[in-house]
Amino acid sequence: MGSINDSSAGSVRGKLGAIFAFRETILILVLLVAGIIMTIASPVFLTWSNIEAILLGLSVEGTIAVGMVILLVSGGLDLSVGSTLAFTGVVCGLALTGGVPAAPAIVLALLAALAVGLVNGFLIARLKMNPFIITLGMMITVRGLLLVLAQGRAVLNLPASFTVVGQGKLLGIQYPIIVVILLVIVGDILLRNTRFFRQNYYVGGKEQAARLSGINVDFVKIFDYGLIAVLSGISGLMITARFGSSSLTVGSGSELRVITAAIIGGASLNGGEGSVLGAFLGALFMGILANSLNLLGVDVYWQNLATGFMLILAVVLDMINEQRKEKRR
């Protein structure tokens, strides 16, 4: 009887090889090396206040990145996250200054964010529209909507019952940092290990095949757009609470930084690949890069150049690596 056996390329080359095959491992190593170099180069780097600043800086986009990488895995994309973030802050701010207590104001604001996501999801999943175009349109529409709602003015002097969300501490750690770390841990476990979230890999890998496997593709997509909108909303609330006011311009450009982080972390715009941990490490990498350049006294204008270069480098290395493996087959 004929049989099909391991070809040499098909087998996992030892445990060590398997571990190094993960993007996360490589990123952790890169971050460790960078950390060691920076610790030597700058006495400030390895202090709690600096680390806290880095983490606080990426708490907003790190939270959105959890949703973005899930969406990228499913083959989707959301450009409206920055606008949704600001929109949520404004809705909450207006509710608060209108006399609504903190808890219902937060719920109301998150429902508003969810509505944005569900509209995105519905148009993309049910009407089969292109995610890039729909969310680009939504990005502009929602930014416009919040300007109309706020009459072009930031909402100031928010009550302390609300600002504690962004300014309070638990065990000496600021809430936003705790929130992002919890979301990353929970999100990574869910996307890696639960059947529900793993449906995203099938949808992004081959949509038609996913349907044949009995996956409710439309539901998965709508869920993902709803989820990322709520996460953007949470980010918006955290940043609004931290500053005690609802800014109208906050979040501009964050959609592209979040996508950059996810891609540095191993996600692909073609869908089917990526992990939450990878996306977070990508965001951490960008945060540490910016922080290091600051500490080393490099002009702030160089930061974009460096981040862009790193994104291109990551993608090019990825491509070379894939082609090498193809040849070995």
Partner: protein, 500 residues
């Protein structure tokens, strides 16, 4: 007699302009391998897609184990126990073997968490049952193509279907994997699984199938026990069609000189040491089943696909062809079988399409396009090839299939080629446009251009060609002169039953 699994009664399906399946009835028994054969366009694919739930029939009844069923989607069919193995791979490269086979059926524990160890043990046991020793954790994209195809088969049977529909499952499998597949199909049959086996390879029909149904022009023309018929019986059932005279009548004058000579073309696993010549003004047919390597060969001559070895001579002189651009400049034109994706720029105008391979000719000083020359050229070609359009600026997407194909022929005829490959020149083209295209092909040959027609439509080759080469598994196995043309002879070469 064994119990009936599937009964189909009076199935009909029409598409605009075509009656694809006409009043088809048949039964399929439990634990039976039923072959479905017929020429291209006979309606096999439509019939199988109806059973697989991808297409809804216009009329007719499908009964599974005595109950009438109706499928709105492939998922309905799968739920009812009919799985169709698709030719295009449904595997997801970035996931492991285990997650591909048990797609959306992974064992889960608390909070929807996947029990990885159980999934891997389960997969390992499943693979071992079919003599496959692969690590279930390996990502599918790391497997060679042949193993991926086997995995596709295993995935299809992993849900334990009552009926598995296989459409040309061995068309791109190497021999050893074909043997593996055959053995496992036989084993599964003995366990009570039924198969509908669509194939062009008659040898496979006799090797593993119990009965065979033959389709022709959308109709079910007969059912035979494989033990009680011969290959020739089946071939004449498949053919049985008269050839009309839409191919025109041209002077088949003596020809001198080779327009194209191809020597020693090889590409590992695709075609092997292929040599042939096309004389000036000759119409040469290239026949063979899908997957026999004929399109790949033509694409390699045109520089579009890679080759391991092989030389090309035009008018007796060696030419170096590494890219399509080399071929175009040396005088080779290739009209792809994939008109919509590769042949035409559907969203661009007729005018822009006509000049696409000849841009150099219409570029003037400073790199500017010569718009007046282009307009004159487009108007002339639209007239010459009778493309029905109100304007040269009309988008090609808006033309009928026949006019699109005429546009493609006009485009390539204008590159001043010495030899033209027509790959499936009349697929999806109405009869009127067909005879116009045949007329143009004959005109081009009268101008001394060497013509190669690649076609699955045997009557077309027989009607048009001076000589036909037949490919089977990457080699030319037969050469037939016009005087000896019969469908039976060509089909028997193509099916690998005969070689010269």
């Amino acid at each position: 007699m064994r119990e009936e699994l599937l009964t189909v009664e009076g199935l009909c399906k029409s598409f605009p302009g075509v009656r694809a399946v006409i009043d088809v009835s048949f039964t399929l028994r439990k634990g039976e391998i039923l072959a479905l054969i017929g020429e291209n366009g006979a309606g096999k694919s439509t019939l199988s897609q109806i059973l697989g739930g991808a297409i809804r029939p216009d009329t007719g009844r499908i009964m599974l184990e005595g109950r009438t069923v109706s499928f709105n989607s492939p998922l309905d069919s799968i739920d009812a126990g009919i799985t169709m193995m698709f030719q295009e791979l449904s595997l997801i490269g970035s996931l492991s073997i285990a997650e591909n086979i048990f797609a959306n059926r992974q064992p889960t524990g608390a909070l929807n968490g996947i029990k990885w160890r159980e999934l891997h043990t389960q997969t390992d046991e499943f693979l071992r049952r079919f003599n496959v020793s692969l690590d279930p954790r390996v990502l599918v994209k790391r497997l060679p193509k042949g193993q991926q195809q086997i995995l596709e088969f295993l995935k299809a049977i992993s849900t334990g279907p009552k009926l598995l529909i296989l459409d040309e499952p061995t068309s791109s499998l190497p021999e050893q994997k074909t043997a593996y597949l055959m053995e496992n199909i036989a084993t599964l049959r003995s366990q009570g699984m039924s198969f509908l086996y669509i194939t062009h390879k008659l040898s496979e029909v006799f090797k593993i199938c119990d009965r065979v149904i033959v389709m022709r022009d959308g109709r079910h023309v007969g059912t035979r026990e494989t033990s009680a018929c011969t290959e020739n019986d089946l071939i004449s059932m498949m053919v049985g069609r008269e050839i009309d005279n839409i191919y025109g009548a041209r002077a088949r004058a003596g020809r001198d000189g080779d327009a194209l000579r191809v020597e020693g073309f090889s590409r590992r696993g695709v075609f092997r040491d292929v040599s042939f010549t096309v004389k000036r003004g000759e119409i040469l047919g290239l026949s063979g089943l899908v997957g026999s390597g004929r399109t790949e060969l033509a694409r390699a001559v045109f520089g579009m696909d890679p080759r391991d070895s092989g030389k090309v001579f035009l008018d007796g002189e060696a030419v170096r062809i590494a890219r399509p651009n080399d071929a175009i400049r040396s005088g080779i034109a290739y009209l792809t079988e994939d008109r919509k994706d590769l042949g035409l720029y559907l969203n661009m105008s007729i005018r822009d399409n006509l000049i696409a391979p000849s841009l150099r000719r219409f570029t003037g000083a400073g790199g500017f396009m010569k718009n007046r020359a282009i307009s004159a050229f487009a108007a002339q070609k639209i007239g010459e090839f009778s493309i029905a359009t109100p304007s040269a600026f009309k988008k090609v997407r808006q033309l009928s299939g026949g006019n699109q194909q005429k546009c493609l022929v006009a485009t390539w005829a204008s590159t001043e080629p010495k030899v033209i490959f027509f790959d499936e020149p009349t697929r999806g083209v109405d009869v009127g446009s067909r005879s116009e295209i045949y007329g143009k092909i004959e005109e081009l040959s009268a101008r001394g251009i060497g013509i190669v027609i690649i076609s699955s439509d045997l009557p077309e080759l027989i009607g048009m060609c001076d000589r036909i080469l037949v490919m089977h598994q990457g080699s030319i196995v037969g050469e037939v002169e016009r005087a000896d043309f019969t469908e039976e002879l060509i089909l028997s070469y193509a099916a690998g039953l005969k070689s010269s």
